[in-house]
């Protein structure tokens, strides 16, 4: 690419080979070799204006009719493409900015210009879902860009706008009220675990990322109510913390333990809690305390907004090593591709939404962008395209659950209008005795 005048190649950036290296996805858009070909609006005209406005550093774009202040359906019908063309334009710009910021054709200058343009066009308070989501993405890319200019760091991500713990907790709970996305993972896993350990006296759960421990009260309650007064099942949870996430994560894991212990006591569930500190990203099963006759369950919730950095290598190590424990069940909950836009759409408008978007989605998007960018740039870091696939080809076999839609299924997927949001699947080690 010509470094002297980046704009020469701008069309190339936007319209061409985004699909060449990319996988041909099932999205129809991809099949048609880029979004552009299906659009029947005047590319040249708009595009030209776009470039013009960027080069002249004008504040507003003039190629689209002004969006009327009262955004009713009626008005929208007069300008049927107004909202969506802006949305598409935003996506194009984001894609261009992302590509400009990483990979072999990295150009700082172009990235900066694109990001500035995007910032102009977006705000977290915009009207449409796409615009707001684009604002979050712009933010995330900007952070990356800033950090890249300073120094590439793979460590825990510091957000300039760090929200305090209460805000985060509150937003998290609001999100749980607004969408079944989070609880779907928890409760489906709980049910699968109950099924797997039905006849076990002792249950040992190894939790990859316990967070506040919110997943477990429902399991405890189910165990208590399932006990017919004979001998109660004993529950043990070992929670992992990783050194890369710092002292705060250690404290959080310990706090979760205290809470869960208190809760278990309040409902009369025999319970004990252990904290396993990982010094590096490699998991060592021998650091776990095991008890004879207990059924081991590996719990891997990958769908939550991970505000702390957890590289794929760490998870891979965890799963691989945990297999040697001969677990009765491995629970895997992970996001589906295209989650962000789908979940944005699936959330109903309500007054709390802006708060949740700021506190949770912003950092979530940033974290995701960081992970992806690091993977894209750093040849050392591996990426896993699909966790179920990884499990299936690394010594795990699917475990059938009774509450699935079809006979023989090992999981469920939560979707929104045919877009997949989050998937819960269940596995066991191939070598386990059945």
């Amino acid at each position: 690419m010509n470094m002297n005048h980046p704009y020469d190649d701008f069309p190339h950036l936007l319209f061409s080979n985004n699909t060449a290296t990319a996988t041909s996805t099932s999205s129809c858009v991809e099949q048609h070799d880029g979004i552009s070909l299906d659009m029947d609006w005047d590319w040249d005209c708009d595009f030209h204006d776009l470039i013009e406005s960027m080069m002249n550093d004008k504040g507003t774009t003039t190629e689209s009719p002004p969006l009327l202040p009262c955004y009713h359906g009626q008005e929208e019908s007069l300008h049927p493409r107004a909202g969506e063309s802006k949305g598409l334009r935003l996506v194009h710009l984001l894609v261009a900015a992302a590509d400009a910021s990483t990979g072999a054709d990295k150009t700082r200058e172009l990235t900066r210009v694109l990001l500035a343009k995007l910032k102009d066009m977006t705000s977290p308070n915009d009207r449409t879902n796409m615009e707001r989501l684009a604002a979050h993405f712009t933010n995330g890319l900007s952070k990356l860009h800033r950090e890249a200019n300073v120094q590439r760091q793979c460590g825990p991500h510091q957000h300039p706008d760090v929200y305090d713990q209460v805000d985060v907790m509150l937003a998290f709970q609001m999100l749980q009220n607004m969408s079944p996305y989070i609880n779907f993972g928890y409760l489906t896993a709980t049910q699968a675990i109950l099924e797997a350990v039905k006849h076990e006296r002792r249950i040992h759960i190894v939790d990859n990322d316990i967070k506040d421990g919110v997943q477990w009260p429902s399991l405890m309650q189910a165990l208590v109510s399932g006990n017919t007064g004979l001998s109660a099942q004993h529950l043990r949870i070992t929670a992992l913390s990783r050194a890369t996430n710092g002292k705060k994560s250690v404290a959080a894991v310990q706090e979760a333990g205290r809470r869960l212990t208190a809760f278990a006591e309040s409902i009369g569930q025999p319970f004990s809690y252990h904290h396993c500190r990982m010094d590096s990203d490699t998991f060592n099963p021998s650091s776990l305390k095991l008890v004879r006759g207990e059924a081991v369950v590996i719990n891997c919730m990958l769908h939550l907004p991970r505000l702390s950095h957890q590289p794929p290598n760490s998870i891979i190590s965890f799963l691989s090593e945990a297999k040697t424990l001969n677990p009765k069940l491995v629970t895997l909950v992970h996001d589906e591709v295209g989650l962000f836009s789908a979940i944005f759409d699936s959330l109903e408008a309500n007054p709390a939404r802006g708060f949740v978007e700021r506190v949770i989605f912003g950092p979530w998007v940033s974290g995701w962008l960081t992970r992806i960018a690091v993977t894209a740039d750093d040849a050392e870091v591996d990426s896993v395209a699909s966790w179920p696939m990884w499990l299936a080809t690394n010594g795990f076999k699917p475990v059938e659950i009774s509450f699935a839609n079809r006979f023989g299924q090992n999981g469920l997927v939560l979707g929104w209008k045919s877009r997949r949001l989050v998937s819960a699947s269940f596995w066991a080690s191939c070598e386990s005795s059945e």
């Binding site: 985004n18 699909t19 290296t21 996988t23 996805t25 099932s26 999205s27 858009v29 299906d38 955004y71 049927p80 493409r81 909202g83 996506v91 894609v95 992302a98 590509d99 990979g103 879902n129 796409m130 305090d164 209460v166 509150l170 709970q173 749980q176 009220n177 607004m178 079944p180 779907f184 928890y186 409760l187 309650q221 109510s225 809760f263 591709v337 989650l339 836009s341 789908a342 759409d345 109903e348 408008a349 960018a373 993977t375 894209a376 740039d377 040849a379 591996d382 990426s383 395209a385 990884w390 080809t393 839609n405 299924q409 090992n410 469920l412 939560l414 929104w416 209008k417 045919s418 699947s425």
Partner: protein, 346 residues
């Protein structure tokens, strides 16, 4: 002296009767101390005929039946009890079991009903069974919902307790700090509970939430399809611990493409039409009222606000790909973007 009393079984089947006497009128009476009328096939058929003529068992009365049947010796008492039994439909007389061939010769619907019901008993039994099955399933579902509700409540209690604790800690630390967000700082436990719940549920209309199946095969196909450029190394050998992952390093990492996929991802199942039978509607809630009957109210779509949201992220894709192959019926065919947010009730 023993007075041998002949045991007379008053409530046995008619087959136990030692002797029957046929009277002139054609009635068969038993010979035990209390003569009881034996409802033979023929008599019963006449009865059924009469009832049919009179407009059915509900309209016919013993008196009118008696008159219509014109059988001597038949008392109101006999008819009353027989009619009652007939109405209840609980008397598949054994005699009738052998006379299913009579079906064809009788035109009356009552007759057919009686014969069919009594001859095999299967249809009524099947319907009963089905009814019981349905009831059983409903009951089961209610049980499941109740269990789920208990679990969710447990989770809610736990969350509330940690939130309260965190708030108190924060309030203790930052007594004077002015906070940026609107939700912290002044939160006392009262406003906390006001903020937290029980929230009116604002889930998306639940018809739009779906649960799909997810077998490994499906996963493999699905991912195979849309990751075609990624080499898939399957190692059946589990011991081979070389780091061969799917999605291994792409030669030209495409960060932008990931973003595009995230923002515009269409259904990944374009080529796997989603059968309706494999979808179940999700009915999960974090705050569920104790009255299960009101569950249905919770899922009503909230009008108003959502309609003003304007474009969905996903709709952009609808608009831009008019040549999309016809998809599963779940996709809203509403190509016009005028209304804004899709409503399942439109």
């Amino acid at each position: 002296m023993f007075h041998a009393k002949k045991p007379s079984s008053m409530n046995g089947s008619y087959e136990n009767r030692a002797m029957c006497v046929q009277g002139d009128s054609g009635l068969v009476l038993t010979t035990d101390p209390k003569p009881r009328l034996r409802w033979t096939v023929e008599l019963h058929e006449r009865f059924v005929d009469a009832v049919a003529q009179l407009g059915g068992p509900d309209k016919a009365t013993p008196k009118t039946i008696m008159r219509v049947m014109g059988v001597k010796g038949l008392t109101l008492y006999h008819l009353k009890s027989h009619l009652q039994k007939f109405r209840l439909g609980k008397q598949p007389h054994k005699e009738y079991g052998d006379h299913s061939t009579k079906e064809g010769s009788r035109a009356s619907a009552m007759d057919i009903q009686r014969n069919v019901a009594s001859s095999s008993g299967m249809m009524s039994r099947n319907m009963n069974e089905m009814q019981m099955e349905v009831q059983r399933r409903l009951h089961e579902q209610l049980e499941v919902q109740r269990h789920l509700q208990l679990r969710i409540e447990a989770q809610g209690k736990y969350m509330q307790s940690i939130l309260e604790r965190a708030c108190q800690t924060l309030a203790g630390e930052n007594m004077a700090a002015a906070s940026g967000g609107g939700f912290k700082g002044n939160l006392g436990s009262s406003s906390l509970s006001a903020a937290m719940g029980p929230h009116p549920l604002s889930f998306p209309p639940f018809q739009d939430l779906n649960i799909y199946g997810n077998t490994t095969d499906q996963v493999l196909d699905h991912h195979n399809f849309h990751n075609q450029n990624i080499e898939n190394h399957y190692t059946a050998n589990n011991a081979a611990d070389t780091n061969i992952y799917l999605g291994k390093k792409r030669p030209n990492p495409s960060f932008g493409n990931d973003i595009r996929k995230e923002l515009l991802m269409w259904s990944n199942q374009d080529h796997e039409p989603i059968d309706d039978e494999h979808r179940i509607q999700i009915q999960m809630a974090t705050h569920v009222s104790t009255d299960l009957d009101s569950l249905s109210e919770i899922y009503d779509k909230k009008p108003g606000l959502s309609g003003d949201e304007g474009n969905d992220c996903g709709k952009l894709l609808e608009r831009s790909s008019p040549r999309r192959s016809p998809l599963s019926p779940m996709m809203n065919p509403n190509a016009g973007l005028v209304q804004g947010r899709n409503s399942p009730f439109e």
